[in-house]
Symmetry: C2
Subunit: 443 residues, 2 copies
C-alpha cells in the first residue's frame, strides 16, 4: 500500500496492553463477585443516547463535555455517566423490572474533559444502584457493597459521608437556597484549594457576603474528632431547625445501619465538606479516599455516590427514589500502575510447547491439544526460531513452563519440561505425570 | 421537574435486561476461558479513533456506516470492527508486544447499517488474532480456538473454509484480477440469493461476459461431496496454474493441521463460495454456521475470519502477517433468545431475607451480612411489603431461598428458610446449619 497512515491515538484516550488488561479484568471480576454477593444484577445500555436524554441532567460541566453529533437527523451523544442512562432505562423498561431494582452496570463512559492524572476521556465506570426504595437501609447497602468491593481489591479506604439535607437545610436557613448548588461547588474544593481560597471564591464568584460566609463555615466547623462528636455538634447547631434536624437524624441512622450490616466504624467518617459535584443528589452523599499515602496523593475520590430522589421522574410520571454509587476503576488502576503495584503477567499461558525446528510434529500438536483439554492454558511456538528466542518469549510473557516434544521425546513417547522460574528440568515424563506436574505447580 | 423527556432508545440500539446481561456475561466468561486456554491475552483500544485510521480499510460499505463526527478540530469516528484498531495498536505499541502476538479483544463496535435480525448498530465482537506469523499453524490455531469456544457454548457448528489464493488465482487466470473484489462480493451472496441471480448480477453489475461467468462457476463446481473429493477436483483444475496450486496446497495443509490439533473433521468443510466481504483477506478464510436448523435459519455466519497479510503495513514499515477471527456473540444471543433457549435467571441472588415489618432488626441485618461473608449471594427486602409481594419478588428474580428472621426466630436465636422451588420449609436452623443447607443446595 502506498502512503502510511500515522498510528495515532486520540488525546485523552489510550490503548490497554495485555498486562493492564489482565489486571483490569481480574479487578472487574472481583467487583462483579461482590456486587452479586449483595444481590445486584447486571444490565447494559447503549453507548449512544439522544442528546436530549443526557443534556441538562448532570451538571453544566458534563453538558459541555458531551461527545455530541448528528447521526442522520438525530442529535445523539455518547453517555457521560451510567446514572442518567439508568434513569432513562428504568422509565423505558419499567414493567419488566423487579422493584426495588438492584442493578450494577460496568461500562465505558466518555467525557471531553482535559486529561489529568488518572482521568481520561474514556473510562470505565462500575456503578451500582437501588431504584424504587426510600428505605435508609438501601443507602447503607450501597455503602457496604462499595466498601466490600474495595476490601476484596485489598484497597484500604475511608468513606467520607454527608447529608445534602444538612447542607441544603443550612443554606435555606441562611437564605442561600438559590445559590446552594454554587456554594456546594465551591465547598467541594475545600480539600484541594484550602479554606481561604474557598472563602474568597464564595465572596467573589458566588456573591455571598462576609457574614454569610462566616455562617456557612459555622456548619463546616461542626466537624468533630469523631462521628459521635460531629453528630452532637450538628444536633446543637440544628436546634430549632427541623429541616436540618432531619438530615442530622439521617446521618445518625445511616451510620447505625452501616454498622449493623457489618461496616467497620473506622472506615466511615462524617465529613461536612462533602458535597458531590452533581446537582441531582438529595440525601446521603459520600466519597471514598484510599488510605495509603503513597498512592492517594492527588488522586481524589475513588468511589462516590449518594441518594437522588427525583431522577427517574425526568422521564416518567413514576416517582422513583434511588441511591447509587460508582467505583472509579481506571483511576485506581492508574494509581496502582504508577506506584508499581500492578504485578500481573501479560499472559495466563502456563505451558509453551517449544518448536524444535522443521515442521512441527504431530506429536507436539497432540500434547498441546491434550494440555488444553486438561484445562491447562497452553501455546505452541509457531516459528522456527532459536531456542534462546523461544525462552525469551516465555520469560517476557511470564509463562512458567516450557515443554520439549522433539524427536528424542517422541521416540521415547515421553516429554521434558522446564520450570522457568526455578530452572528445574524434568525429563522422561509420561502424559499423565506431565499434566499432574504442571497442575500441581500452577494451582 | 417540568416537562418530561421521552425515554427513547435510538433506532438499532437496545437495552439489555438483567436476564440477558447475565446470559451474555456467562457466555463471555466461557469464551474468555477458551481463548486463554489457547494462549491468547486480552487488550483494549479506544472506542474512538481518528477517522483516517478507520477509513478505506474495511470495505466501501463499512466506510459508509461509520459514526463519524468532529471533536473540536479532530475528525473522529467510532470503531466499526476490532481488526483495523488492532493493526493500528500493533503499530503504536510494537516495541512493547511479544511476537507472535496472540491477543483477544471483546468489545462493542458500531455500524450505522440498517437493523435486521440479530444485527444491531451496536454489538459486541469477540475477536482473536495472531500477528507476526505466516506459519500455517497459526491459521489452524485460530480455527481451533473458535471451534472450541463454540463447543464450550454447546453450539453445534460447521466451519466452511476456503482460500483466497484459490479464488484470486482463478480470477487472475481468467483475466479478472481487477474485478476480483467485485466478483467475490457477488459470490458471497450465493447462498442467500441463489445461483441464477448471482450469474445475472455478475453480468449486469460486474460486466463479466457469459463465458467468464461459466468459467467462474467451473471453480465453484469443484465443490465435492467430501473435503477429499473437493481437493482432488481442485488439484485437477489447478494443473498448470501454480498460483492456484499454492492455494489448494494451503487448503489441504490447513485441514491436516486442524485435524492434528484435534478438530473433528466433521466440523470443517471446504466451501469454494466462501469469500468474506472484507477486502483485506489474502489466504485462508472461513465462516461458521450453527448446525441446528431451528435457530440457524436466516442467521448467517456466527463466527468468521481469515488471514490478512498486509494490514499492519498500512500504519507501519513493518510487514506483519496476521490471521484472526471473530465470534458474533450478539447474533448468537439474539437467535438463542428468539428460540427460547436463554433460560437464565434475572439475578444470581440465592437467599432473600424477608422483611417482617417495622424496622428491620439487628438480627436480620446480622444474618444477611453473615451469609454474604460465607460467599452466599444474599439480599434483604428493604420495603415493608406484604409477604405475598416479597414471595413474588423472589420468584420473579429466581431466588431459590427465602429466609425468616423475625421476632420469633430472634427469641430462639434460630432461622427459618423456605426453598421456593420445592416448597420445603426448614425451621429452627442454627447459623451454621443454615449456611450449610443453603450451600449444599446451590452448589
Amino acid at each position: 500500500m502506498s502512503g502510511k497512515t500515522e498510528a495515532r491515538v486520540l488525546k485523552g484516550f489510550r490503548d490497554s496492553l495485555p498486562k493492564e488488561s489482565i489486571a483490569r479484568a481480574r479487578m472487574l471480576q472481583t467487583i462483579v463477585s461482590v456486587f452479586e454477593n449483595y444481590g445486584f444484577s447486571p444490565i447494559d445500555t447503549p453507548a449512544l443516547e439522544y442528546t436530549s436524554t443526557l443534556l441538562g441532567s448532570g451538571s453544566g460541566e458534563t453538558d459541555k463535555q458531551l461527545f455530541r453529533f448528528m447521526q442522520g437527523k438525530r442529535d445523539v451523544a455518547m453517555r457521560f455517566d451510567l446514572t442518567i442512562p439508568l434513569a432513562r432505562y428504568v422509565a423505558s423498561n419499567f414493567s419488566k423490572l423487579s422493584f426495588p431494582f438492584r442493578r450494577y452496570h460496568i461500562a465505558p463512559v466518555w467525557r471531553g474533559e482535559n486529561p489529568q492524572r488518572g482521568r481520561f476521556r474514556e473510562f470505565i465506570q462500575c456503578d451500582l444502584d437501588i431504584i424504587g426504595s426510600s428505605s435508609p437501609l438501601t443507602d447503607a447497602e450501597v455503602m457496604l457493597a462499595i466498601s466490600s468491593a474495595l476490601d476484596a481489591l485489598k484497597l484500604g479506604h475511608l468513606m467520607r459521608v454527608n447529608s445534602r439535607k444538612v447542607s441544603n437545610g443550612w443554606f435555606k436557613e441562611l437564605g442561600l437556597s438559590e445559590k446552594s448548588a454554587l456554594v456546594l461547588r465551591e465547598l467541594d474544593k475545600l480539600e484541594k484549594v484550602g479554606r481561604d481560597k474557598v472563602r474568597q471564591d464564595l465572596i467573589d464568584k458566588v456573591q455571598t457576603s462576609q457574614e454569610e460566609v462566616d455562617r456557612i463555615f459555622e456548619l463546616i466547623d461542626c466537624q468533630g474528632q469523631s462521628n459521635k462528636e460531629t453528630l452532637e455538634k450538628l444536633s446543637s447547631l440544628s436546634q430549632n431547625h427541623p429541616d436540618i434536624q432531619l438530615g442530622v437524624e439521617e446521618l445518625g441512622q445511616h451510620l447505625r445501619l452501616c454498622g449493623e450490616l457489618g461496616l467497620d466504624e473506622n472506615l466511615i467518617e462524617i465529613d461536612l465538606s462533602i458535597a458531590r459535584g452533581l446537582d441531582y443528589y438529595t440525601g446521603i452523599v459520600f466519597e471514598t479516599d484510599l488510605k495509603e499515602d503513597s498512592i492517594k496523593e492527588g488522586l481524589g475520590s475513588i468511589a462516590s455516590g449518594g441518594r437522588y430522589d427525583n431522577l427517574v421522574s425526568r422521564f416518567s410520571s413514576q416517582e422513583l427514589p434511588g441511591v447509587g454509587a460508582s467505583i472509579g476503576l481506571d483511576r485506581i488502576l492508574a494509581a496502582l500502575g504508577e506506584s508499581g503495584r500492578i504485578s500481573g503477567q501479560e499472559s495466563s499461558t502456563k505451558v509453551l510447547i517449544f518448536n524444535m525446528g522443521g515442521d512441527i510434529s504431530h506429536y507436539a500438536l497432540g500434547i498441546v491439544s491434550e494440555l488444553r483439554k486438561a484445562g491447562i492454558n497452553s501455546e505452541i511456538f509457531t516459528e522456527s526460531s532459536k531456542l534462546a528466542g523461544q525462552f525469551k518469549y516465555a520469560e517476557k510473557k511470564g509463562i512458567p513452563f516450557v515443554l520439549f516434544a522433539g524427536e528424542k521425546e517422541q521416540n521415547a513417547n515421553t516429554f521434558s519440561i522446564k520450570n522457568i522460574t526455578t530452572g528445574e528440568q524434568m525429563d522422561d515424563l509420561s502424559r499423565t505425570s506431565l499434566v499432574e506436574k504442571v497442575r500441581s505447580t500452577i494451582s
